[in-house]
């Protein structure tokens, strides 16, 4: 009998929307090009034109790219396919270029602000609208930061549309970034109030408990300044520990914080780049606790100094504060923190530097009800959890031994539980007696 030749239907699932993705990429690149041109005096021609062609086109391009990426990807589920092959996410040429670009952007932002004189102009209309003063490099930065969180947040939500924890969490970081870290501080300026961030606390926002800042807030007209001073003190000493007791540090680090917000959205494609070795954990503990110690000493010195009215160590403390601002505030949190996303993952600052994360971490480890539980003996040691832990925790080393994961650095993003192909991990708040099983 001669075999029957059969025709197989072509599957729509393999349509690879290359055209849409390329169009999106082209638009995004055009936007990027206009953004670079906006650093020249060309913006004088028409700042609004430049806004539309840089930020507008760039955002549109990114959204069109994601549309192409997910259009035929109709079945929701964990999709980390090909991440290890891509130039951008595997420290290829694209990744390095992005790292160099981001790093130079931050270096200019902190130390060569004059570079931004022209680039800030396209944002004038927005700045005038929100704050009634012209834009500057910090407004430009804030606006781009928020935009990145929103657009990459949309991507994060589509990517994880099967996981309600991720959807709600991503909405939360977008909400706090847009509202509390961008709109409210701007509008406060419009109302002649201090541009206060209600979502950042000492010691991440290290000057919020400095005597000078509290003094300035108390003296600002109206009751709002006093409330801000009260807020800053109360959040750090009462609300942070209480919330961390109930939910672990995740309520802040991966739900509210702006640094975390950018890491969880823009940084999501880079989470596997964090180092998981035991050695890196060792460095992590030394460095992050040193930063915490340094900021505690600095704050104490400032208070002692203000009490003694600057008689002792006045100049030393001033220099100390400046050096901290330069090295930690700008160099570590900014330049390395975001600049190294495409090389070391998105949580470099949160993992190695952030003193607030250090405090919350200690609370999480010692007193919190939070833990990640392991489901019996179901672990197959595949390594998805460890690979996709942005904090560099070797989750597998706990899971394969049936142990709960209790680590001060865990920000509770929930990705380990999501990528686990055997349903072994779960983020839980529970009684302290069952914390270590």
């Amino acid at each position: 009998m001669t075999p029957i030749q059969i025709t197989i239907p072509t599957e729509s699932i393999h349509v690879n929307n290359t055209v849409i993705k390329k169009a999106g990429l082209a638009l995004f690149s055009t936007g990027l090009l206009f953004f670079l041109i906006s650093f020249t005096s060309a913006t004088d021609i028409s700042p609004v034109f430049f806004f539309i062609f840089s930020v507008g086109l760039g955002s549109l391009g990114a959204l069109i790219f994601f549309y192409g990426q997910y259009k035929n990807n109709l079945i929701p589920g964990v999709k980390k396919n090909r991440l290890m092959f891509l130039e951008a996410t595997n420290k290829g040429l694209l990744g390095w270029t992005a790292a160099v670009f981001l790093t130079s952007f931050y270096i200019c932002l902190y130390w060569f602000p004059e570079v931004f004189i022209n680039a800030a102009k396209p944002f004038d209309w927005m700045s005038m609208l929100l704050r009634n003063i012209p834009s500057d490099q910090w407004f430009l930065y804030g606006a781009l930061y928020t935009l990145a969180v929103i657009i990459m947040g949309i991507r994060m939500i589509i990517h994880n549309r099967h996981n309600r924890y991720q959807i709600i969490r991503t909405c939360s970081v977008i909400f706090f970034q847009l509202g509390f870290a961008f709109l409210i501080p701007s509008i406060l300026l419009l109302l002649n109030e201090p541009g206060f961030y209600f979502s950042y606390f000492w010691p991440l926002k290290y000057d919020y408990l400095f005597p000078g800042t509290l003094d300035y807030l108390m003296k600002s007209p109206g009751a709002l300044g006093t409330f801000m001073a009260f807020w800053a003190v109360m959040m750090t000493f009462i609300v942070l520990p209480t919330f961390t007791y109930f939910f672990g540090k995740r309520w802040y680090c991966s739900w509210v914080c702006g640094c975390g917000g950018l890491a969880e959205t823009l940084g999501d494609p880079y989470r596997h780049l964090s180092d998981k070795s035991l050695k890196s954990w060792k460095y992590e503990r030394y460095i992050i606790h040193s930063v915490l110690l340094v900021i505690i000493i600095l704050t104490t010195l400032l208070w002692v100094n203000s009490y003694l009215q600057g008689d002792i160590l006045g100049r030393f403390t001033d220099t100390y504060a400046k050096v901290y601002g330069f090295v930690i505030g700008a160099g570590f949190a900014g330049v390395a923190g975001v600049g190294f996303y495409p090389l070391m993952g998105a949580r470099v600052w949160c993992r190695f530097g952030c003193p607030l994360a250090a405090i919350l971490g200690l609370l999480q480890k010692k007193i919190s009800r939070f833990r990640i539980t392991t489901n019996g003996a179901q672990c197959i040691s595949c390594g998805n959890c460890s690979t996709y832990c942005e904090m560099g925790i070797d989750v597998r080393s706990y899971a394969q031994n049936g142990k709960n994961i209790i680590r001060s650095s865990c920000v509770g993003c929930g990705i380990c539980a999501e990528v686990c192909p055997r349903g072994v991990l779960k983020l839980e708040n529970g009684p302290l007696v069952t914390k270590y099983n």
Partner: protein
């Protein structure tokens, strides 16, 4: 000091080594011809898919072995001399042992299909197979997978991740139907097709055809259909890899024959993992071959204890397993689809065909759980089965078993209402947990 030699560095061999080290300071040597360092075999697929790299699927960093004084040898064992108590490696080195552990795993089944050795035809078991697959699937416009088990669907997912169209031949009338109950099995059929795969149930491979260069060009099914393809994945199960023991006095059947202590007939020689065939204690009973990650680990632990003088019987306990079929997770506890006398099944399936809960019970109590797309706690399910809890008790407390992430929809009330409809005389109300005081089993 006693010399322990372990042949094979999969999960069974490595677990043996690790537990011996935990309990003693014996000299431990692990020999593998596949790779120097232990890696997670179940994660091979993720390398091909670009989800992880080889370094990511190694559960221990490389310094771990030296620190724990476990010698690793990347070599092929040519011969075992049980008289002189030594193993001979392909490089000519002889190693003496006091205790020997055979943990050689399994190999892909080939059932003598015509053309099964052509270029482009392969199974998937080892790192070498993965490299081969990388080569074999370059520029392929269609792949055929033969055999509807777990490796088959993994291979299908791998190929799909590279946009290679897949034809999937399954001998059974429904995917994995000898393990999965029919409803769940049909759910997976649907899901495979939803992924655009050409699933052919009740279809077997008859012949593989090659072009002039000896490379596969098509296959012919038992329905005499010819399907053009440049790659054929043979995934019709695995069987114990015991070629090494052919000319030794170690007793073998389908696998290495061992008793309940995982000892072979030769004193001082043990066996663990996929290669083991456990003799039935009862005459006329069935010998068991267990080829799961979890059983490999349990075997390893038992062998280690026996080698260290803590006589321990291997007891599997309440059965459990899990897998992931493309995007649908699967967990099972206890006896599901065993067709036990007097068994009743309570089954609920979501209308999206992505979630289901099955509770199997008899008049004496619950005996099994089967979950698709939903995670349940192993400890809770096991305890209920062990304690022979009634189905009414289990349904009332079902929320305690749920292990899904926070904010996920819980479906426990749906299955309770099915039970209530079927048994109008019993009105079961589901206990919901209060968030602060929730108990953990």
């Amino acid at each position: 000091m006693e010399n322990i030699i372990i042949i094979g560095n999969g999960i069974a061999g490595i677990t043996t080594a690790r537990f011996i080290r935990k309990m003693s300071d014996k000299n431990i040597t692990v020999i593998s011809s596949e790779s120097k360092y232990f890696y997670s075999r179940t994660a091979l697929m993720y390398i091909y898919m670009g989800v992880m790299k080889h370094k990511d699927i190694k559960p221990y960093e490389d310094w771990f072995w030296e620190k724990n004084k476990i010698n690793l040898i990347n070599d092929y064992v040519q011969k075992i001399d049980t008289e002189k108590k030594q193993v001979i490696l392909s490089t000519g080195i002889n190693l003496f042992y006091d205790k020997l552990v055979i943990a050689t795993g399994s190999k892909s089944n080939k059932f003598g299909w015509k053309g099964q050795d052509y270029a482009g035809v392969q199974g998937l078991y080892s790192l070498q197979d993965l490299d081969l697959m990388e080569q074999n699937t370059k520029g392929v416009s269609r792949a055929v997978i033969v055999g509807g088990g777990l490796i088959g669907i993994e291979m299908a997912e791998m190929l799909s991740s590279r946009n290679i169209p897949v034809t999937f031949l399954v001998r059974e009338k429904s995917y994995w139907e000898n393990i999965l109950p029919i409803e769940e099995s049909e759910m997976i059929n649907k899901h495979i097709r939803e992924h655009g795969m050409d699933l052919r149930l009740d279809t077997q491979l008859k012949e593989i055809k090659a072009d002039n260069s000896g490379k596969v060009k098509s296959i012919i099914t038992d329905k005499d259909e010819e399907i053009e393809c440049q790659f054929v994945g043979l995934t019709a199960g695995v069987s114990p890899n015991i070629d090494l023991l052919k000319d030794t006095s170690i007793e073998t059947g389908r696998g290495v024959l061992v008793n309940d202590y995982l000892e072979t007939n030769v004193p001082g020689i043990y066996s663990a993992g996929d290669c083991v065939e456990i003799k039935s204690e009862t005459a006329g009973g069935k010998n068991r071959i267990e080829q799961l990650w979890y059983t490999g680990r349990m075997h390893g632990e038992v062998v280690a204890k026996n080698i260290c003088g803590k006589k321990t019987k291997y007891e599997r306990g309440i059965l459990f397993n899990s897998a992931k079929f493309l995007d649908i997770e699967y967990q099972t506890y206890g006896l599901v689809n065993f067709k036990m006398p007097g068994e009743k099944n309570l089954y609920w399936e979501d209308k999206d065909s992505k979630h289901s809960i099955r509770i199997v019970y008899t008049d004496e109590g619950v005996i099994g759980f089967n979950l698709m797309g939903i995670r349940y706690r192993q400890s809770v399910c096991e305890k209920w089965i062990k304690d022979k809890r009634s189905v009414e008790y289990v349904l009332t407390h079902l929320s305690e078993a749920n292990f899904d992430p926070e904010f996920f929809t819980h479906f426990e009330s749906a299955i309770v209402s099915i039970y209530n409809t079927q048994n109008p005389l019993k009105k079961i109300t589901l206990k919901t947990k209060r968030w602060f005081f929730k108990k953990q089993a």
